[in-house]
Symmetry: C2
Subunit: 288 residues, 2 copies
C-alpha cells in the first residue's frame, strides 16, 4: 500500500522533534521536551499511540535514542559503511505501523564508536545533494560527530565529547569560576583555537586561571577562550584543511566555522533539519 503521509520523529535524550510529511513535503513540525528520559519505562507505545491519534493514525518512523536500551527498545546498530538501504533492511517494527531506525556502529583497529539519529541527517544531506558523495560532515554538540562519507555511504566516524567537556568545566572545574562571560567567535575564541590545536589541552585549560591572576587575559574572555581551546582541539584532530560540511544550529555553526577557518579549512553550512527530513523521507520510500 502506498502511504504518502507519515510522521517522522527525531527523538533524542532530552528533546523530540515531530514532522508530518506528505508527498515528501513537511506539512507540520512540532518540538517538545518529551525526550526519551521523560517517557516512563514501558510508556513508549502509549506515547506513540497518542501522537498517531493526532495524525489520523498515520505510520511513524522513529530515529534517535528512542531506539536505544533507554528508549522503546534497542534497535541495534548496522555497521559502517552504512546506507539508508541498509538501515531500512535492519528496521525494527515493535508494533504495526511503527518503524524504528537502527543506529550505526563503526569499529576499526580495536576502537569503536556509535551513533543513533545522526545517521539520518548525514545520509539525508547526501541524498538531498546538500553535500557530495565524498565529504567530511560535522555535527557539533554535546557529543560532536565527525563523519567521513565515501561513495555516498557513511564510511567511518568519530565522536568527541566537546560540548559535554565545556559544560563540565564551567560547572565543576576550578577554572569554571572564570568562565562567566558569553561565548562569541571573536579574538579570544580564535586565540583559544590556535592554542587548542597545539595538542596540550590539560595544560592549556589549567592556564586559564594564571592568565587572569597575572593579567594576561581579560577575565570576561575566559569562556570564549576555553570554548576555542576545546573546539580548536576537536577541529585540529579531525577537520584537516579541506571542506567541512557543518550540520549545526546558528550559534555552534558560527563557532565551528570560525575554528575551521582559523585552522585553514573551509566550512560549509548545511541545514540539519532539512537533511533529517530528506534522510527520513528517502528511508520511508523503502516501505511506501
Amino acid at each position: 500500500m502506498l502511504q504518502q503521509t507519515f510522521i517522522a520523529v527525531d527523538w533524542g535524550t532530552t528533546n523530540r522533534r515531530v514532522y508530518r510529511i506528505e508527498h515528501g513535503v513537511v506539512i507540520e513540525t512540532e518540538r517538545d521536551s518529551l525526550g526519551v528520559t521523560a517517557v516512563p519505562s514501558g510508556g513508549f507505545a502509549e506515547e506513540v499511540a497518542t501522537l498517531r491519534a493526532r495524525h489520523d493514525g498515520a505510520p511513524v518512523v522513529l530515529a534517535g535514542m528512542v531506539g536505544s536500551n533507554r528508549g522503546w527498545l534497542d534497535a541495534g546498530y548496522v555497521r559502517t559503511p552504512a546506507t539508508l538501504e541498509a538501515l531500512a533492511a535492519a528496521v525494527v517494527k515493535p508494533i504495526d505501523g511503527v518503524y524504528i531506525i537502527p543506529g550505526v556502529a563503526h569499529v576499526a583497529q580495536g576502537h569503536g564508536d556509535v551513533m543513533r539519529g545522526e545517521e539520518v541527517q548525514l545520509l539525508g544531506a547526501l541524498a538531498a545533494g546538500m553535500a557530495p558523495a565524498d565529504a567530511l560532515l560535522c555535527q557539533p554538540g554535546t557529543h560532536c560527530k565527525w563523519a567521513w562519507m565515501k561513495d555516498g555511504t557513511l564510511s567511518s566516524f568519530v565522536t568527541a565529547m566537546t560540548g559535554e567537556m565545556f559544560a563540565m568545566l564551567r560547572n565543576h572545574a576550578l577554572i569554571g569560576q572564570e568562565m562567566t562571560g558569553e561565548v562569541t567567535p571573536g579574538d579570544a575564541f580564535a586565540q583559544g583555537v590556535r592554542e587548542g590545536a597545539r595538542g596540550d589541552l590539560l595544560a592549556s585549560l589549567f592556564g586559564v586561571r594564571p592568565a587572569s591572576l597575572l593579567d594576561l587575559r581579560d577575565r570576561a574572555d575566559a569562556a570564549s577562550f576555553v570554548s576555542g581551546l576545546l573546539i580548536g582541539a576537536d577541529c585540529s584532530a579531525h577537520a584537516g584543511t579541506g571542506e567541512v560540511h557543518l550540520l549545526a544550529d546558528p550559534a555552534l555553526g558560527a563557532l565551528y566555522s570560525r575554528a575551521i577557518t582559523e585552522l585553514g579549512g573551509t566550512p560549509l553550512l548545511v541545514d540539519s533539519h532539512a537533511a533529517f527530513v530528506a534522510g527520513v523521507t528517502r528511508f520511508w520510500e523503502y516501505f511506501s
Copy 2:
C-alpha cells in the same frame, strides 16, 4: 642571632605538614587536614601562635597556599629563573618570627603559570643532589607541575589539570558511570597512555562508553584506561624521551613511571618530603 631550630610548614589548600627541624635534621613531623581553606579568614596569626607555642616559640617558615590571597596574605611571586636566594630576598614577614615564602610565576610568549609551595621541593631536590642542576622534574597530582631546571635554577614550568580532570570525569561525565574500577598501572592503563599520546583526547574520552557497549574493553578496566589517557596526554606533551625526576607519592609515582617508560622516557623517583626539607632548610640558612 643564629637560630638552629625552626618549624617548617608545607601548607596547602586541604592539608598541612609540619616539620620541626634542628640543625638541618627533621626531629618531628605532623600532618593534619588543617589546610588553608579550613582556617577562618583572619585566623592564621592565632593558628601559627598555637603552633609556635607547642614548639618553644621557635620561628616558622611557611610555604604553599598560606601565601596566597586565600591564605594569611598574598606573598606574591618571584619570576623565573627562580632560586632559593631570590625566594629568600622576597620573603614576607607578617609578624616577627614568621617567614612566608613567595610563589613563582613564569611568563613567556603571552602564556603564564604560577606555583606556590612546589618551588621549595624543586629547588630542594637540586640543593640536596637528588636531581642534577639541569633536569626535568615532575610533581604529579590534582595539578601536575612540570619544571625545567637549568644551571640550578627553576627556569620554566607548566601545569596540567590532569588529576582534577580525572576526578571531574569520574564524578560528572557520562563516562563516569564506567569508571568504577580501581586504577592500576597495568595493560589497560598502558593502552590508554599510548592512545592519549595520539593527541585526540576529546574523542578518546568519548570512546570509553562505546568500547563497553561494543564489548571492546572490559568495563572494570575503564578507570585505568581513562587514567592512562590523561597521564599519557600529559606525559607525551611534556616528558620527551629523556630522564624525568618524579616527586610523587607511591601510587601516582607508579602510574607516571609506567607512562613515561611506555613513551620512551626514563623515570627516576625522588622523595618529595626529603626534597621539601632540603629546600626549606637551605632557605632558612639565609636568615639564621
